[in-house]
């Protein structure tokens, strides 16, 4: 996919450029707000990654300007101001996601890939999600694997729903905490891992091909590895 990075710190943007290319993406880099705005307004990107504080036009104004121009490319905002209200401001300006600095690249990559896919399709409108022989019905709230009902707690259901909505994509622990629990803080402990391992015990136990996979240093993904 095509990613625009608007970041004034040369070493940070060089790092992102290299890392995204290595992950198989096409990257354009802009080092100030005005240029970034001009490039973004062309609308040919799948995702725009914007630093909050950049010269000539700050990140929030850039996002606001793009949204006024009806440019609806997904935007992720990077900010050194990791405060609660800063996040609210960023999202209010029209950003789709927010990542406080310092971030890990795996976290950024996972978020960017999910944003880019959201720009293309709307799988959230589907009623039934399927991964391999696992089936989740969002209306009846039933989960079945190989014709066997699996009994899930409401939160486990939402966890699985989120994983399946992003089948084949990496979701990080913080993304799970944000989207399943709606909290954005760092829980300090591996609470999410325990939830996932519980879910995994219900979904994968007794089956030969596990569906939920741990991606080391990044998070989790659900995919049918048998195929």
């Amino acid at each position: 996919m095509k990613i625009l990075i608007v970041e004034d710190d040369a070493s940070a943007s060089a790092y992102l450029d290299k890392a995204f290319r290595e992950s198989g993406h096409v990257v354009d880099v802009s080092s100030d707000g005005l240029d970034g705005y001009a490039m973004a307004a062309e609308g040919e990107y799948d995702v725009i990654v914007v630093d909050r504080m950049i010269p000539r036009m700050d990140g929030l104004s850039l996002i606001h300007g793009l949204r006024e121009q009806k440019v609806d490319t997904p935007i992720l905002i990077l900010s050194a101001l990791g405060q609660v209200d800063d996040r609210v401001k960023g999202l209010r300006a029209g950003a789709d996601d927010y990542l406080p600095k310092p971030y890990s690249f795996s976290e950024l990559l996972a978020r960017v890939e999910i944003l880019a896919r959201r720009g293309r399709s709307l799988p959230s409108e589907e009623t039934i999600y399927r991964v391999g022989d696992l089936e989740l019905n969002r209306l009846t709230r039933r989960v079945m694997r190989l014709e066997t009902d699996i009994d899930l707690q409401p939160r486990e259901f939402r966890l699985l729903e989120y994983l399946m909505r992003h089948t084949g994509q990496v979701v990080t622990r913080t993304m799970l905490l944000e989207n399943v629990w709606d909290y954005h803080f760092d829980p300090q402990t591996n609470v999410i891992d325990v939830h996932v391992s519980r879910l995994r015990a219900k979904i994968d136990k007794g089956f030969d091909n596990p569906l939920i996979h741990t991606i080391r240093g990044a998070g989790y993904t659900i995919r049918d590895s048998a195929r």
Binding site: Q83, V84, Y183, D186, Q188, R198
Partner: protein, 471 residues
């Protein structure tokens, strides 16, 4: 020349002082009042003098008319001749109806009009030392039976002199008042200016870095004294805060430098002895871990700083405290179970609070995380295995309490652990930034609430009290 310029500068400074401006205002008000009073007094005195003259003239006329009535015109003429030769006498004139002078000390009159009945103020000439001098007089004319005119007047020179004296006295008084007010104003202004200058000087010294300096309090308890006392109290407070800040920065230095050192050591060691990719990989992973730990400490510190700076938070909504608590409990429940701890939640909502769900959630997560970690350390033979979270309404306030049966915190240390970075020595070795409790306390403060620690007999109970929101 230089002295002159200095004087002008000093004068300029004086004129700019509030005290001097006030003195000027008072001076103006004073002068106006003094002028009004003195004017009133002199006006009345002069009227009184004038009245006295006209009364004298009327009485004289009455006496003469009596003489005329009893002895006719001859007796009147005799009386007048006698009276008009006395020193300091009034002016007299008796004429016939035709205007012929019968008697009197007035040699001629210019206007026939004076011989009509009435009261006149006029100028007349007195021959003194051979030359005529103008004088002012008050004259009354009466027409007697038979057409005789009787004219009696009184010289006003005396009265005028008196009036002059009064006016001059009034003028001098006003000048004196003015002079006194100016001197007083300058004196007060200079005194105040002197003390203010002294205060300014002291504050400059303090600003230059000597925080131990204090303003002089004269003990008169006037407004400048009170100002000095307030400023001193403020300096005292600033001093305390600075000391606190120094302590905190020492602690920050310690708690940030320790993991930084570990990070550096592991990187250095990998460079020194690592010779396989696996060694490097392991060292790098360790480095990342330490870096993440540092970021956590940093975030917590920023959050506490944000909370302590106060101010309104964005994203404040009416939230159900019971719901947040049960959410967080639900989040930690599998984790607790894995640690062999029973995590219980008790409470029924809604308990509306005006809060940031995010911050309250984080505070609760910290407290529950602490409770689980400390509980799991006590041997399971005791009642170590339960952490109970209770959400309830007590005395009109929302209380969220997290109780464990871990080792607890000695009474003496309970207040101290809420401070930033304070971790009891026994816990230095345990994981955690040591900021969990202080962060929860900061969140409580930010929501106009409190965090207190109690004995859970055994164990620790942390109680987060928050104001109930107006629904």
């Amino acid at each position: 020349m230089v002295l002159g310029i200095r004087f002008v500068i000093a004068l300029g400074r004086l004129f700019r002082t509030t005290a001097f401006k006030l003195a000027l205002v008072f001076l103006a008000i004073f002068t106006i009042f003094a002028g009004l009073i003195l004017g009133y007094v002199s006006f009345n005195a002069m009227r009184l003098l004038d009245e006295q003259v006209s009364v004298t003239v009327s009485e004289e006329i009455d006496g003469l008319v009596t003489h005329f009535n009893s002895g006719g015109v001859l007796r009147l003429v005799r009386q007048i001749e006698r009276r008009s030769h006395q020193p300091g006498s009034s002016l007299f004139l008796v004429t016939t109806a035709a205007g012929e002078t019968l008697a009197g000390n007035i040699s001629s009159i210019d206007s026939e009009g004076l011989l009509e009945a009435g009261t006149y103020e006029l100028y007349y000439r007195v021959v003194e030392d051979g030359a005529p001098h103008p004088h002012r007089a008050l004259v009354e004319t009466t027409i007697l039976p038979g057409g005789f005119r009787l004219l009696v007047g009184r010289d006003l020179a005396e009265t005028e002199r008196l009036q002059n004296v009064i006016l001059r006295a009034a003028g001098w008084s006003i000048l004196l008042v003015l002079a006194l007010a100016v001197i007083g104003g300058v004196f007060v202004a200079r005194r105040v200016l002197g003390r203010v200058d002294q205060m300014t000087e002291t504050t400059r010294i303090i600003m230059a870095g000597d925080l131990s300096g204090r303003l002089t309090v004269t003990g008169t308890n006037d407004e400048l004294d009170r100002l000095a006392q307030s400023l001193n109290a403020m300096l005292e407070r600033i001093g305390e805060l600075m000391a606190g800040l120094r302590e905190v920065s020492d602690n920050i230095a310690h708690d940030l430098k320790t993991p930084l050192t570990r990070l550096r050591n592991s990187a250095e060691e990998a460079l020194r002895i690592g010779d396989s990719p696996e060694d490097y990989r392991e060292a790098l992973e360790h480095t990342l871990e330490e870096a993440d730990g540092l970021i956590k400490v940093f975030n917590a510190l920023l959050m506490i700083a944000r909370a302590e700076a106060g101010g309104a938070l964005d994203g404040i909504k009416i939230e159900d405290a019971a719901e947040i608590a049960s959410d967080v409990v639900e989040l930690f429940e599998p984790f607790a179970e894995e640690a062999g701890i029973l995590l219980q939640f008790e409470g029924s909502g809604p308990l509306p609070i005006s809060a940031s769900r995010e911050l309250i959630g984080q505070a609760l997560a910290n407290l529950i995380d602490n409770a689980i970690k400390y509980s799991s350390e006590t041997s399971l033979e005791t009642t170590g295995g339960t952490v109970s979270v209770i959400a309830q309404l007590i005395h009109g306030r929302v209380e969220l309490s997290i109780g464990d049966h871990g080792p607890g915190i000695p009474n003496a240390d309970r207040d101290r652990v809420l401070e930033r970075f304070v971790r009891l020595e026994t816990s230095r070795t345990r994981p955690g930034s040591g900021l969990g409790l202080s962060l929860a306390a900061a969140v409580a403060r930010l929501h106009a609430g409190t965090l207190r620690l109690e004995d859970n007999q055994p164990g620790l109970r942390a109680i987060l009290t928050l104001p109930l929101a107006e629904a």
